[in-house]
């Protein structure tokens, strides 16, 4: 039986507000036990950041501009990473509109990473190393992944679950602002906003209601992502 969609977790990223400070990157590392790969590994192209700030230079010196694009798993409705996993390690939760990665099912074929047009999937090339006493900082709610498994942003699903359990225990519905992923919590300019699009009172619904600045990345591919970007100004070639 198919699940009934109850929520649609959505993130709105206002690029006009993003300063490129990368606090969200650090917060995500801390919350989700993302390993710090060494400088050599990053030079080889193995940087592992569930949310990363893509930085593009625009213009010529001295009229140089930097444009920042925080890029995390878009939790697509038609996720191209899901049908290609031979062992169902990458599946869709229709109840809440999330793309789930099941770490202990992954055999490491890396087809999902190839198929993701946003390149937001990361493979654990080595076993993660947390030198003492950094393992004390690890979040016990989140699995520490071994070598050979894929990982990616989960919209802090552990926080979603905690909030849902708490709401159930307290006997009240989940309200907007109950679930705050680590990156959203940390962003100093509140460029990142998270919420349930099916909730008519939520902040994301208000932001996305008629908004000329909104777009989704690579919409033409038909992936139907759950992350909306807001950008006004010169970069938009619109009517």
């Amino acid at each position: 039986m198919m699940e009934q969609p109850e929520r649609k977790w959505t993130m709105v990223i206002d690029i006009d507000k993003c300063t490129g400070c990368a606090a969200c990157v650090v917060a995500c590392h801390a919350e989700n036990n993302v390993p710090i790969v060494t400088e050599e590994e990053v030079a080889k192209g193995r940087g592992q950041h569930w949310i990363r700030i893509e930085r593009y230079w625009v213009g010529e010196y001295p009229h140089l501009e930097a444009r920042f694009l925080p890029l995390l798993c878009q939790h697509c409705d038609n996720a191209p990473c899901e049908p290609v996993c031979p062992v169902y390690a990458s599946v869709h939760s229709e109840r809440e509109g999330l793309n789930l990665q099941v770490y202990n099912r992954c055999v490491g074929t890396r087809y999902c990473a190839n198929n993701c047009p946003y390149k937001v999937r990361f493979f654990n090339w080595y076993d993660p190393v947390f030198p003492e006493p950094q393992e004390q900082q690890l979040n016990p709610d989140v699995t520490v992944r071994s070598a050979g498994v894929m990982e990616k942003c989960t919209f802090c699903v552990q926080r979603i679950r905690r909030a849902e359990e708490r709401a159930l225990a307290l006997g009240q519905p989940l309200r907007d602002g109950d679930v705050v992923p680590a990156c959203v919590q940390t962003c100093p300019t509140s460029a990142l906003v998270f919420g349930d699009l099916y909730d008519p009172e939520s902040q994301v619904t208000h932001l996305l209601e008629p908004n000329l600045r909104k777009f989704r990345l690579f919409d033409h591919l038909g992936t139907s992502p759950s992350v909306y970007y807001l950008k006004g100004g010169a970069s938009r070639v619109d009517a």
Binding site: E3, C76, N78, P83, V91, H92, E135, P140, D141
Partner: protein, 341 residues
């Protein structure tokens, strides 16, 4: 009535065909004549009826079997265990066609080979019913006849130009019977399957390093718990726990003690005992026993430290934060204080 086998070797096809005609004239039935050769001659060359072989129906059965197996895998299993992926329907059209094709072909191939094996493998023949020169281009005509006919057959074979003759008792040595053949083939198929299933259901298990079972991250209530440095926990004043309002101790009034007593009996007595001595009904089940709350060690802790233990757990003791609100926890703390001997 013993049977004799008469084997004659010939150089080429014409004399072989003549021999067969002669044998027919002598009244030897077609089934008793076997022609052996190193290259495939057609029945027309030898003047024989074509052999009816059942391979095509067997292959078709294999194809149907493969087809059904594929349908089971692609249609039935997703309906049994529904896992949605990527906006594609549960039973996608083109991939199903691919899997059906592959399994049908596999079924056909396996059935054909199996049919071949079943029909021709492990015949029970004696050494006299074969000659190594057959793989040197000679053709062999083997007639298994009643011993009364044997001499006539031998003469006929010599006449038509057999350059070598073997006559012997036709008692096929006890070769593998059908059930032995089936056991052998079945063994090859069944034994690996059974071993595989034993592994699949974890009856047998190889202790592979399954790293993710052992997590380096530590929850509040999992050991080893680092003791806080001496001045780290506030001994006086409110208890500060992340994401919760500061919690002030409640004075130890009669109401608080009464509430604390009731809550203690409900939540704590099963392990720590109704008198807090650590001998509750469940205490024997733990590797390290529940603490004796009346002891000097526990009573020397500050109220706030006891509150922290209730909130976060300690060792095997789980966090009571879900069971007791902060006010209730302070009531229990007051009750624990009153247990001092």
């Amino acid at each position: 009535m013993a049977n004799r086998s008469v084997l004659g070797l010939y150089h080429e096809a014409t004399s072989t065909a003549d021999t067969i005609d002669r044998l027919r004239e002598l009244g030897v039935p077609d089934e008793a004549i076997t022609v052996m050769s190193g290259v495939p001659y057609t029945p027309e060359i030898l003047g024989r009826r074509p052999v009816y072989e059942r391979l095509v129906p067997i292959a078709l059965i294999g194809a149907v079997g493969g087809f059904l197996a594929a349908l089971f895998l692609t249609v039935v299993t997703p309906h049994l265990y529904n896992i949605p992926v990527g906006g594609q329907p549960l039973v996608p059209g083109p991939p199903t066609i691919i899997i059906v094709f592959e399994f049908t072909m596999l079924g056909t191939l396996l059935a054909t080979f199996g049919g071949l094996l079943a029909e021709i493998a492990f015949p029970a023949v004696g050494r006299h019913e074969y000659d190594y020169r057959i793989t040197e281009g000679h053709m062999g005509v083997l007639a298994v006849v009643d011993e009364t006919l044997a001499d006539q057959v031998k003469a006929a074979l010599e006449e038509t130009g057999a350059h070598d003759l073997k006559v012997a008792e036709s008692n096929p040595p006890p070769g593998p019977r059908t059930w032995q053949r089936l056991a052998l083939v079945g063994g090859f198929a069944v034994v690996p399957t059974v071993i595989g299933l034993l592994f699949a259901y974890s009856v047998l298990a190889i202790p592979l390093p399954n790293q993710m079972v052992n997590q380096p991250s530590i929850a509040f209530d999992q050991g080893p718990r680092l003791a806080a440095p001496a001045e780290a926990v506030p001994v006086q004043g409110p208890v500060l726990i992340a994401a919760q309002p500061a919690s002030e101790p409640i004075p130890s009034t009669a109401d608080s003690l009464q509430r604390g007593g009731i809550l203690f009996n409900v939540n704590c007595a099963m392990c720590h005992g109704p008198d807090g001595s650590g001998k509750g009904n469940l205490s024997g089940y733990f590797a390290s026993p529940p603490a004796d709350l009346t002891s000097e060690r526990v009573q020397a802790l500050s109220d706030q430290e006891i509150f922290m233990v209730l909130t976060q757990g300690w060792g095997l003791m789980p966090s009571m934060a879900e069971n007791l609100s902060p006010v209730e926890r302070w009531d229990v703390v007051n009750h624990v204080r009153s247990l001092r001997k």
